[in-house]
Amino acid sequence: MSIYHVYDLNRGLNVPKRRTNCRIMGLGAEVQKVLHWIAQSGKIGLCLLWIILHLIIGIWYFAVDIVRAIESYLISSGLFKRYKALDISKVRYLAIVIDSEEARQTSKIIELLRWLAAIGIKSVCLYDPDGVMKKFKEAIMARLGDAKLSEEVTVNDPLLDQKFIALEFVSFLDGKEAVAKAANLLFDKYYLAGDQEKPIFTESIMVEALKAIGCVETEPDLMLVYGPTRCHLGFPAWRIRYTEIVHMGRLKTMKCGSLIKAIHKFTMVRQNYGT
């Protein structure tokens, strides 16, 4: 074979091989594009399904709200006999937890307290994380009329003859920060005070320390949460060990009938305290 012939032969042999390689690479890129398109479509499909799922839930809650509104109206109008005679003696201490932004609606808070007073509730603890209600406590009590601060109510006042509602105002600082202050008090008392033997802290020692720094120890029987979600928003942990926590929805849509229903449901609860 002459060199020229080999050259021609080689050129002839190489040209189809280069074309085949290019075709294969082009096909691979196409397949990749298609796979990428499928993946993107898959993601869009999943997003659409997620949105549809949440839309269905939104419609469900809308329907539930309508039913609850009708039920609340019927309860308020006295149509249901079982809600007429509430055993209020079971609700010795009621906590109301309100989201701090909604707590600025003082007129709504006063309306709620008037409903509670009409039902027969004597002691209420009002909590919002930022202490908004604490700041407005004088205004709230002045507008409410028959109200006293819990700390001013003497032990001798018999609860049954009480013609006023006792209010306590609490915020987030009365929770974890108060426990830290109590721990510091115990440190001062048992560790810094001398070379005495350090006791093993018990719950009663902690309760005494919390009392010493001015914390109220009464545990609410029932907590009604007014806000978008059922969270206790940092209510003092020490005081809600066995408290029933009920979500009432937003303060702006509060209803008297729902309040009566929640209290009635609580009176039917039987606790065994872990035993």
Binding site: Y191, F201, T229, C231, A237, I245, Q271
Partner: protein
Amino acid sequence: MALESKLKDNSTRMNKLYRFGMGLDMKNNSDGLVSRLFGNLVSSMRKFLFRILSVGPIPNHLAFILDGNRRYAKKWNLQEETGYKCGFWALMPMLKYCYELGVTYVTIYAFSIDNFKRGPKEVQCLMGLMQEKIEGLLEEESIVHQFGVRVHFIGNLKLLPESVKVGAEKVMKATANNNKKVLLICVAYTSTDEIVHAAQESCQRKWDEIREMKPGGGAHSFEISNESQEEEERRFIKLVDLEQCIYMGVAPDPDILFRTAGETRLSNFLLWQTPTCLLYSPGVLFPEIGLRHLVWAVLNFQRAYSYVEKKKKQL
């Protein structure tokens, strides 16, 4: 005899449910082609559902109060011990679903300090069951190995019988290097006990710090003498010290807390850790809990996500 047979049937049925839920029988059941195919189909549908849910935020930490086991036993005329076993068999698939969904931390309230007040026979039975299940966690086919779960036992472990305590420590040691998922089992636990322990621990640590700084100085050298200092600076124990000593400090705060049987109280569980936690109380008894309850809770979490995140930053 009829009652014994009924109990055995229920026990076998529950055992099958557990194994099905855990996907344990799929490999071994050679003559169950239809059941294997059905199991694979169910598993694929569940994973597809989780992929849809994963478009939105997934909770990082779920907590469970396992309420309703005794009521379940009463409902089906079973012994209380069987009720607790049914609760455990329902728990394992739930853990599997949580980890498959992408939840990293799961906490369960297995035994409260208050539960020691129950009858001695019941407490003994619960301790025996707990020991058996703790040992089971180290088995090859357990969820711990399947998902690379690190196990923590949270609570006042000194109150437990020695055998249970040793078993718990063995599991914690054996899983210490697992780093994909975390399971926190609260035993001999209450929040108030946790807070008291944190207070004592932080006092002891601060005392040790002070003594290291001035050995032999004793308490007298550290009397607070400067009356012009701000009150907070004068405090030796701060909130951050307590947070470091709390039992549950090994995990972030929970995002959703489930309590079954329709009960709406926390019963001294995670009171410190749940200011912005969504509290979910389905009416179902714990042995009857299923995937639908988890999915519903996650969807509600996604609805409330922006509000909860805002509150977490504020508190």
